[in-house]
């Protein structure tokens, strides 16, 4: 199958890749670029495990074709920490035991980061509705919501 040549920016770095016309952005990230932090839970846009931002918009990378991201900027979980310095959300997820198995965690972190960019002081209800596209089967969501509330407070005060 003929492949497309695509140039995009991923976590600030310019990246070239070849992809089949049917490959999703998720497939490209995981299989072509070996950025396996973005997870596949359903490949139908229902679970949010593959959440990334595309030119600043939160998307399910399984619903975006690899061939359509040319010239765009993509942020994934691998770009969230700076070296050893975790993003406040990452630290608060650890502190609050907001992750158990952790498979949904990258998607939840990317989605939560986007929420706090739009709304630095979300209510518990706003957090629950914003994260309603990200399934977690382990935690029952409570400690995730607590972690986001706490991270938002710390980020507002810093």
């Amino acid at each position: 199958m003929q492949k497309y040549h695509v140039t995009a920016t991923i976590n600030g770095d310019e990246v070239d890749f070849l992809c089949e016309p049917t490959q999703s952005l998720l497939d490209v990230l995981r299989d072509e670029l070996h950025l396996t932090g973005t997870k596949e839970g359903c490949a139908t846009g229902d679970c949010g495990a593959c959440s990334v931002t595309l030119d600043g918009t939160l998307v399910c990378s399984c619903l975006v074709l690899g061939a359509e991201v040319g010239g765009k900027s993509i942020e994934t979980i691998e770009g969230m920490a700076e070296g050893d310095d975790l993003h406040p959300l990452q630290q608060k997820f650890i502190d609050h035991i907001a992750l158990q198995c952790g498979i949904c965690t990258p998607g939840l972190l990317v989605a939560s980061k986007k929420l706090l960019e739009r709304n630095p002081d979300p209510s518990e209800e706003e957090i629950r509705y914003w994260l309603a596209g990200n399934l977690c089967r382990c935690t029952g969501y409570q400690k995730i919501v607590e972690a986001v509330v706490d991270a938002a407070a710390e980020m507002r005060n810093s």
Partner: protein, 774 residues
């Protein structure tokens, strides 16, 4: 749980002592940073050089005979490197083995991973292809021609039990009936468990209530689809990285199904993306190894979500009957239940376990439980968190609620009056040891939740749950590094993400060192002796028994080294607060030696310091929980909103309390999802209509409220730290608790799961038209 504890199993008596690490919240968690940065490696994240992609061709029919499979066109497709069908696997005789909380039968396991004579459900594998890319593999699948003779199918348990139902297995005669039946049946087994005389007990009762309940199958719904990568090299050396709750059990099954030596197969349990019992069974692993053996290249296989729903899990759909009698003053005199459980395409549901849990929360003299394990054209059921218990608890706890109301006793007092406690004779055999059921009920009575005022269309429901703790084979190796830091290899899989931390805390407590000096890692199958699956809430409970033994073994070595240095006898040295010390002043005046002092000097006084454990952990430590839930029912739509939820459970001893809370909350929310929305929906043709998260609706963050949790600690007498398994109990009460709450909000009792808006609305409409409620 099928067999009782072995007389050779290891048991440690509870040691009541002051703890420094266990019960705290350490900041060290070995898996956490990797998980929040995307570096943790789950099975689908592994890749090997030159690997192929494997895909499975699945049956589109619920029930059909396979007439022929023609793979020639697929074989000829450039890029296809190997194809396997049933002909590539040896047939297996009837041979049972434990696989988690459920038993497997190799005759059926080989047929479930790859259909032989017939396909028995929509999604049943019929062939697998390995190719150079996913797109080539998918094109290969399309070129395989399978000729089927479609047969009549049966989906639901009651229909499957009828004598004229389409038969899945012509050679299946119901076990547990004497004499053996003459006709084959979909009823694989009949079980009975009995105590006292139920007829006499019901005679004695002033009130007897008998009801019938139905539940739909639900899926474990782990977010990580099954994934495996296998590498078979010349000479048959094989490595497998996979998503599993028990890599040793998987190794044994792979070796058996492919007729290889166990020692040639090495299985690594990758970081697990959720299991809940659903990753206790092999599906892809033997296919990936067979494809790798045929192509001599590594083969990676990852299920789609559609495949996960159609061909793995789910739990049993059930039909149950519950009858309970009580005297006017609220004493239960007799209880009877019939459990009809779907096992899916092959015999072997959670029925034996469900049978144990039916009435074990209550001290009842006369009990009769009967059950049927029933095959039908659905995927073979897998364990799901307290397998089989939520469905029968729905029935029992609904009838208990109804009885309490009829007797005008509040539901918590009614349960307290009849609560199981130390010495209660169970209907399945043992008497209970010390258990915390009464404590959870008393804490519920005193909980501020009970004082919250309820408005119109709001109601409060109570329900309780019981589950046991599995022991079984557990190994650990503890190595003290030359600097005194400690690395420990365990053979259980960390299914919760907190398992490694909990074990590290127990080791730190035993050795008297800081928890950040302990690193716990799950080893591959070549690193340790056999370990049973992480199932039956045993990860921390049994795992900690093994690491206690390994720690104490290492302490003996540490004391020996100190003794040699001091030139005294080993029994003249004791280990206290992380130091070797002279046992008494008579031994001599020696400065205490820390673990790092001893580790640094070990080379001079006997060498490497290690501790080992290979134990068969004693089973026991039943866990009990009480749930309180408030709901509001929208009478126009039938939608149920969960307003507040409180869960109180006996953990024996919470090693890492925040994680225990997380288990409670996660289990309760799975139970809420199971109760209100989740169900398998089949078409007339017997195909699954909702194999995706859009139509199979698990709870999302905005569906659920905060879950208040309270940990009760009544120590397990058979564990040195008093630990009980805690992971499964929380999912048991929610269906019943919510159903009871809906009743108290609307006056309508629901006995047909799920308690979804259409069903709630229909029940409300019917009760309004009837004007009465039974």
């Amino acid at each position: 749980m099928a067999a009782g504890p072995s007389p050779y199993s290891t048991s440690f008596a509870y040691e009541d002592k002051k703890l420094k690490v266990v019960g705290t919240k350490p900041l060290e968690r070995p898996d956490a940073v990797d998980k929040v940065t995307g570096r943790a490696r789950y099975a689908a994240d592994y890749n090997l050089p030159d690997q192929l992609v494997g895909k499975v061709l699945r049956s589109p029919h619920a029930h059909a005979r396979i007439l022929s499979i023609d793979t020639s066109a697929a074989d000829a497709l450039p890029g296809v490197k190997a194809i396997v069908t049933w002909e590539d696997f040896p047939d297996m005789p009837v041979e049972h083995a434990a696989s988690g909380e459920l038993m497997i039968n190799y005759r059926d396991t080989t047929r479930n991973m790859m259909a032989r004579e017939k396909v028995l459900y929509d999604g049943h594998p019929v062939a697998a292809v390995a190719a150079v890319s996913e797109s080539v593999a998918k094109r290969g699948l399309k070129l395989i021609k399978v000729e089927y003779e479609v047969l009549p199918h049966v989906i639901d348990v009651e229909a499957a039990m009828r004598s004229d139902a389409p038969l899945l297995h012509e050679d299946q005669f119901t076990k547990g009936i004497d004499p053996k039946p003459e006709k084959p049946s979909n009823i694989a087994t009949r079980l009975e468990s009995k105590l006292g005389d139920v007829d006499a007990g019901f005679e004695e009762a002033d009130v007897v209530i008998e009801r019938e309940f139905r539940t739909k199958p639900v899926h474990q719904g782990y977010i990580e689809p099954q994934a495996s990568i296998a590498n078979y090299t010349d000479g048959g050396q094989t490595e497998v990285w996979t998503s599993t709750q028990g890599h040793f059990v998987f190794r044994a099954q792979i070796a058996k199904l492919l007729q290889m030596d166990i020692s040639k197969v090495v299985v690594t349990a990758a970081e697990l993306g959720g299991g809940f019992g659903g990753k206790n069974n092999v599906y892809l692993e033997p296919l990936a190894v067979a494809l790798s053996r045929k192509s001599r290249r590594p083969v990676k296989m990852v299920m789609t979500r559609d495949e996960v729903f159609r061909a793995t899990g789910p739990t049993s759909g059930t039909h149950t009957k519950v009858k309970i009698g009580a005297t006017k003053d609220g004493r239960i005199t007799a209880a009877q239940a019939e459990l009809n459980y779907q096992s899916g395409a092959f015999a072997g549901s959670s029925l034996p376990l469900a049978t144990i849990t039916v009435f074990t929360r209550y001290d009842i003299e006369n009990v009769l439980v009967t059950g049927h394990d029933v095959t039908c054209n659905r995927p073979k059921v897998a364990a799901y968190r307290a397998p089989g218990a939520p469905m029968i608890a729905f029935g029992v706890e609904s009838v208990i609620d109804e009885l309490a109301e009829r007797l005008k006793i509040d539901p918590l007092s009614f349960r307290l009056k009849n609560a199981a406690k130390e010495g209660t004779q169970t209907h399945f055999g043992p008497r209970l040891g010390p258990v915390g059921y009464v404590e959870t009920l008393e804490r519920a009575q005193a909980h501020p939740h009970m004082l919250e005022k309820l408005g119109p269309n709001q109601g409060r429901g109570i329900a309780t749950g019981f589950w046991f703790t599995l022991g079984k084979e557990t190994s650990a190796t503890l190595n003290v590094g030359e600097d005194g830091s400690v690395s420990v290899i365990v053979g259980t899989v960390d299914v919760t993400g907190g398992g490694r931390s909990a074990l590290a805390m127990v080791i730190a407590e035993e050795l008297g060192i800081s928890v950040d000096k302990v690193r716990v890692k799950s080893g591959d199958t070549s690193a340790l002796g056999f370990n049973f699956m992480t199932a039956g809430s045993r990860g921390t409970a049994a795992g900690s028994m093994a690491v206690v033994k390994a720690s104490r073994d290492a302490i003996e070595r540490l004391c020996e080294i100190a003794a040699r240095k001091w030139e005294v006898e080993p029994d003249q040295v004791v280990w206290e607060d992380g130091h070797a010390r002279p046992a008494s002043a008579n031994v001599g005046d020696f400065e205490p030696l820390s673990i790092s002092d001893l580790a640094r000097q070990a080379g001079l006084f006997g060498g490497t310091i290690a501790g080992h454990a290979e134990i068969d952990a004693a089973m026991g430590g039943p866990g009990f929980g009480t749930h309180i839930v408030d709901v509001e029912v929208d009478r126009q739509t039938g939608a149920v909103k969960v307003l507040r939820y409180t869960l109180i459970q006996d953990a024996g001893k919470a090693v890492y309390p925040s994680f225990v809370e997380g288990q409670f909350q996660g289990g309760a929310v799975q139970g809420i999802g199971m109760a209100l929305n989740e169900e398998y929906i089949y078409s007339e043709k017997g195909t699954l209509e909702n194999p995706g998260f859009l139509d199979y609706r698990v709870p999302v963050a905005s569906d659920v409220p905060f879950i208040n949790t309270e940990i009760v600690e009544v120590p397990n007498p058979a564990h040195p730290y008093g630990i009980r398994g805690i992971g499964e109990v929380p999912i048991i009460p929610p269906i019943a608790a919510l159903s009871n709450a809906i009743y108290h909000a609307t006056g309508v009792r629901l006995r047909d799961h799920p308690l979804s808006p259409p069903k709630v609305l229909k029940a409300i409409d019917e009760s309004e038209h009837a004007g009465i409620e039974d």
